[in-house]
């Protein structure tokens, strides 16, 4: 079983406004997939549907081969998927999420931020959780700040703690929602480096990003979203260097920070 996440015909509307118009996407184990696209193209909405911070309007989500929710057919013959909150909690526990705004818990130290979910959700003891926290804080290079509060850390450090917090649940897949967009430019590098390290260690990742250089260098596949559909998908080379579709070409042309050829790191 190689496939961690599969989306089939996923749609999402806010009222009458369709944001996602039928997304099919598969992420395999150990793979890093980057989602790129203009603001409003539905990248974040897509990511939030994967761990049900937003509920899909229709379509199916498979996590490690299993359909999330229960499929029913209503009177008119339409197939619907019903979700139970308890099941979604366990799905979320298996899907790590890193937010643009970090969202660390400000009343807890870095270490406690990482420990809380393993203790409360996975039932680890305090000392087990502390060891686990040390492993993951070390992985993102911030173990020396374990006893600091979020307010005492820089944005880049906070985001790395947030990554460690998600990793400590040992999720099947990690989602990154523009993890570097809220950072000062000089702090972007350390977070991207930590993410790159994860990718190289074989973490399965679905990454929404504006960092096209990161997508080019780290992703196995890149998907370009346009108006709620996956407009073009392929290897970084295919999508970012030799895009076939004119929309993709327009998007890349407008991207001033990314000029091909980018030096391969």
């Amino acid at each position: 079983m190689n496939e961690v996440l599969r989306l089939e015909g996923l749609t999402k509307s806010y009222g009458n406004v369709p944001v996602l118009k039928g997304i099919d996407l598969t992420v395999r184990r150990g793979e890093t997939v980057c989602l790129i696209g203009a603001s409003g193209s539905g990248k974040s909405t897509l990511l939030r549907c994967v761990n049900f911070l937003g509920y899909p309007t229709s379509g199916r989500i498979f996590l490690e081969g299993k359909l999330v929710g229960r499929e029913i057919t209503d009177r008119s013959g339409t197939k619907l998927v019903k979700y139970r909150e308890a099941e979604l909690c366990s799905v979320r526990a298996h899907v790590g999420m890193v937010f643009q705004q970090f969202n660390l818990f400000p009343h807890m130290t870095a270490e406690e931020n990482v420990m809380i979910a393993p203790i409360k959700i996975r039932g680890l003891t305090k000392s087990q959780a502390r060891d686990l926290a040390a492993v993951h804080l070390k992985k993102v290079g911030i173990l020396e700040k374990a006893r600091s509060y979020p307010g005492q850390l820089s944005g880049g450090q906070q985001q790395r703690v947030a990554i460690a917090r998600a990793l400590a649940m040992e999720p099947a897949i990690m989602l990154f929602d523009e993890a570097t967009s809220a950072l000062d430019p000089e702090l972007v590098g350390e977070v991207l480096l930590a993410m790159r390290q994860l990718a190289q260690d074989g973490t399965t990742m679905l990454v929404v990003t504006h960092e096209l250089g990161f997508a080019y260098n780290v992703a196995h596949r890149v998907a370009f979203l346009h108006e709620g559909t996956i407009h073009e998908e392929g290897t970084p080379e295919e999508v970012l260097v030799k895009p076939c579709k004119s929309r993709t070409q327009d998007f890349l042309r407008g991207h001033t920070t990314f000029r091909m050829p980018e030096p391969k790191l």
């Binding site: 308890a86 366990s90 979320r92 660390l104 818990f105 400000p106 009343h107 509060y149 979020p150 649940m169």
Partner: protein, 222 residues
């Protein structure tokens, strides 16, 4: 007009006034002990939109926070025993009256505290797989309570002041006792000056404690 100040005679009655002070504290303490937990629960129910219960909470809160304390006290002392068929001591009646009103204030304070926590905090807990109750208890409430400390102590001070209305049903709190002393010795100016001083010492101490706690538990914000 020269007034002949004479505190010595009032000081003679100081134990009586202080006794009233202790009664006041007892009343304030028991009211807070009831109002705080009840109010927090009501505030959570209102904020969390618990079905059905929420409607009851909203009715309770809106009714009692707009009520007049003096009327509530009289009503609980005179009308409530008739309705429930049990005689209430002045202490019990006033405690009920003040608790009813203060728990409504406390509920709104709790709701404000909960609302002040960003959606991102709820989402972060949710993304980690925490059910609502876990998130509320470990993520949201600890932060909300810290923000509520200053206003909570303001509420305590308000409650302490409200207890001075208990005299209307002859509960011997500090102002009631002072009034009796003042009429006995014809020294209202000195008597109430001393009452003012005693109250100031108590309440000022309380506000200092609040400030200390606020700083002690402050979350470092950037």
């Amino acid at each position: 007009m020269a007034y002949d100040w004479n505190f010595s005679i009032v000081l003679h009655y100081l134990p009586k006034i202080l006794e009233g002070g202790v009664k006041t504290l007892a009343l304030a303490g028991s009211s807070i002990a009831i109002a705080a937990p009840v109010g927090v629960l009501l505030g959570i129910v209102r904020h969390q939109r618990v079905p059905f219960l929420r409607v009851l909470a909203v009715i309770y809160i809106d009714f009692f926070r707009t009520s007049v304390a003096l009327v509530l006290i009289c009503w609980c002392y005179y009308a409530l025993p008739v309705l429930i068929g049990v005689n209430l001591s002045t202490f019990t009646a006033v405690t009920i009256a003040i608790s009813l009103q203060s728990s409504a204030y406390m509920a709104e304070l709790t709701r404000a505290g909960l609302q002040s926590i960003s959606v991102g905090q709820w989402e972060a807990g949710r993304a980690l797989g925490m059910p609502g109750r876990t998130r509320l208890r470990y993520i949201i409430l600890p932060q909300a309570v810290r923000r509520m400390i200053p206003v909570f102590f303001l509420l305590i001070i308000e409650i302490a002041k409200t207890t001075t209305l208990a005299g209307v049903v002859t509960y011997p709190e500090i102002v009631y006792e002072a009034y009796r002393v003042a009429t006995e010795i014809y020294r209202p100016i000195e008597t109430f000056t001393i009452v003012g001083a005693v109250c100031f010492i108590f309440l000022f101490t309380a506000s200092r404690i609040a400030l200390y706690l606020e700083r002690r538990f402050a979350v470092v914000e950037r």
